[in-house]
């Protein structure tokens, strides 16, 4: 890999102190409170508006073993939930002042229920996300947002004003805007940043205030441009799927010659895709509701056609040669849609690999064999043939 960038060094330092990362420690030292968030659908704008720090909970970068979590969770609970829940049992998330998640799937909901039952967290709120794709969902969404505001008020004694919400929107939008700038750099013929590095960047964003992360992203983008970094590769890959944020897994793929140029995963593009667009005369809450409602390319709460459209558009923008459709075991929202997404890609002449794995596993053993075989099948000749077919 080319020269070590200062911003990347800083990002690795921050990640090395996961989960109670150094920026969170500083935040707490100033007497302020931290809220764990469980899903891309949790409106961080509202949490920032309350003067609280939202951090995205996740598990360690390793496969979860046979541990205490099994005593409390059903065997079909996915390894992502199992992983972070075990950390909660081990006291690694004891710095959290609360947890907000969504009823995005049963695993999310039940883990939150068990945490509440065991009194592992001082405050747990499950945010509802309307399922139905119509205009009637907006007023319902507004009710759920008000319920979240009320819960934060009751538990933390905070008043959230309209100007607080506007500030919250601006804070999160800046982060999204900078991540979008980084994404655009990855559409280049020789992108300046690898998929492994990108996941490290995104991981740091989960454990620090958005303002501070934004400054770091600005520094990184400036450095990438100044250094004129260009990463070559045999193939350009997209990762699409559920929770995936262990750099080791992506490093394993990139070692085999495939550069990951886009990641449409729960913790990648799907997390920050699209801004809250506050129109004139619109209430900030409504603007938030409209961003989260049917805008995220998540298979669970977004019409499938929109997910397909987002993925195909990104495939074209990033000139992707092949897509690795990653789904963690027992992830129902992704598991049920991945075969269909593969067919949509095939129709466009884009080969894909369906990869079922546990959250946190690296590219070793059988996973490596599958990825290697997939890359071997992406020969230039085979590609040309597919395009003409």
């Amino acid at each position: 890999m080319s020269s070590e960038l200062r911003a990347l060094q800083r990002i690795r330092e921050i990640n090395s102190s996961f989960p109670y990362a150094e920026p969170i420690q500083r935040w707490k030292a100033a007497g302020k409170k931290v809220i764990g968030t469980g899903c891309s659908y949790v409106p961080e704008e509202v949490i920032y508006a309350a003067g609280l720090l939202p951090i995205r909970v996740r598990g360690h970068s390793r496969e979860s073993g046979i541990d205490e979590a099994d005593a409390w969770l059903h065997p079909n609970t996915c390894s992502f939930q199992r992983g972070w829940f075990q950390m909660l049992l081990d006291g690694e998330y004891s710095f959290l002042d609360g947890f907000v998640s969504t009823y995005i799937c049963d695993c999310h909901r039940r883990v939150a229920d068990v945490a509440r039952y065991l009194k592992l967290l001082p405050f747990v709120h499950l945010f509802e996300v309307p399922l139905v794709d119509d205009e009637d969902s907006i007023p319902r969404y507004l009710d759920y947002l008000r319920a979240l505001i009320a819960a934060l008020h009751t538990n933390f004694g905070v008043e959230i004003t309209e100007s607080d919400l506007r500030r919250g929107i601006a804070t999160v939008n800046r982060k999204r805007d900078l991540l979008e700038q980084l994404r655009t750099l990855r559409t280049a013929g020789k992108p300046p940043i690898s998929g492994t590095e990108m996941v490290e960047v995104q991981n740091a964003g989960f454990v620090m205030p958005a303002d501070e992360f934004g400054d770091l992203l600005e520094e990184l983008i400036a450095e990438l441009k100044a250094e004129d970094r260009r990463l070559g590769s045999k193939f350009r890959l997209m990762l699409a799927g559920s929770c995936l944020n262990n750099p080791e897994f992506i490093a394993g793929i990139e070692e085999l010659g495939g550069l990951v140029v886009a990641d449409v995963t729960c913790m990648g593009i799907s997390y920050w895709y699209r801004q809250v667009e506050l129109e004139e005369g619109q209430s900030p809450l409504e603007a938030i509701a409209r961003r989260y409602h049917n805008k995220i390319p998540c298979p669970q709460r977004t019409p499938f056609a929109l997910r397909v459209e987002s993925v195909l558009s990104l495939v074209r923008q990033h000139q992707v040669d092949g897509v690795i459709l990653e789904v963690i075991m027992n992830c129902f929202p992704h598991g049920h849609t991945i075969a269909s997404l593969a067919r949509h890609l095939e129709r466009q002449g884009i080969p894909s690999l369906q990869l079922e794995k546990e959250y946190g596993t690296g590219s070793t053993g059988q996973i490596r064999t599958r990825v290697q075989a997939f890359l071997e099948s992406l020969t230039p000749a085979a590609r040309a043939e597919r395009i003409t077919r």
């Binding site: 064999t369 599958r370 071997e376 099948s377």
Partner: protein, 262 residues
């Protein structure tokens, strides 16, 4: 000019030596604890009968689980690509391959050039693979080589709803104690494994020209069951177990020619 393909599988290691597009010799041994030693041993076994020395081998490609751990290999290529390559070399009309190995099972579809078009693999649980059959043969005290034939003698196969080695083992033991014929137990287990293989095959949309490779391809009982489910007649080459090593050797020949011309 001699080239070699070495396939270090989970249960067996295979080597194929080729010269000018012809197979010169091959060997199959049990996989030892260390891939490097196993690779060295299996290659020596393959070259000994034809009077070659290791220095005569100009290019070696490794494949299989231990492919990255062969110090003297020039390249490593996944066993999925190698099976497709090997099959294409000896049976060019074949487009669908079912590879039934020691710890996994793969369905592969390839094109006229032997390139992989799509593939699926069982997940990391080794239930219903070669290792599973070994366990069952062991508890029923039947030689592994004989279980397939014995399963064909069954009059009333016992349905098995599991391919979990642990559950199937206790179920088979219970049945045996109750006096159920070994052939009926084996027929049921073969049926369960064949169903699983059939489901894998369906996921790659099999084409009529079809073969079975890997160690289990030598099991007549399994071949009969897969054939009946798929309603397709598989074609076979002399030694289906060395298909991965054969493909690796074909790749080795191609790559050494490419290196020589460069």
């Amino acid at each position: 000019m001699f080239v070699a393909g070495i396939d270090i599988g989970s249960r067996a290691a295979k080597a194929v030596v080729m010269e000018d597009g012809q197979v010169v010799s091959h060997a199959i041994i049990d996989t030892g604890a260390e891939s490097a030693k196993t690779a060295d041993k299996v290659l020596r076994e393959a070259i000994r009968p034809v009077g070659l020395s290791l220095e005569d081998i100009e290019y070696t490609v490794g494949t299989g689980y231990g492919r990255c751990l062969i110090p003297f290999a020039n390249d490593n290529i996944s066993e999925i690509s190698c099976h497709a390559k090997g099959v294409n070399w000896c049976m060019p009309s074949v487009r669908t391959i079912l590879d039934m190995g020691g710890q996994d099972c793969k369905a592969i579809r390839c094109d006229a050039m032997g390139r992989v078009v799509s593939f699926v693999m069982n997940d990391k649980c080794a239930g219903g693979t070669g290792r599973f059959l070994e366990v069952i043969a062991d508890i029923l005290r039947v030689p592994l080589e004989g279980i397939g034939e014995l399963s064909l003698e069954s009059k009333e196969p016992i349905p098995f709803n599991t391919i979990c080695a642990v559950f199937a083992k206790s179920e088979a033991l219970t049945l045996q104690k109750r006096g159920v014929a070994k052939s009926d137990i084996l027929a049921g287990l073969h049926e369960a494994i064949a169903t699983r293989a059939y489901n894998l095959l369906r996921r790659v949309s099999p084409e009529p020209e079809f073969t079975i490779s890997g160690g289990i391809a030598k099991n007549a009982g399994m071949v009969a069951k897969v054939k009946a489910k798929l309603k397709l007649e598989p074609v076979f080459w002399d030694e289906p177990q060395i298909m991965g090593a054969l493909g690796a050797a074909v790749f080795a020949a191609e790559r050494s020619a490419l290196a020589a011309s460069a």
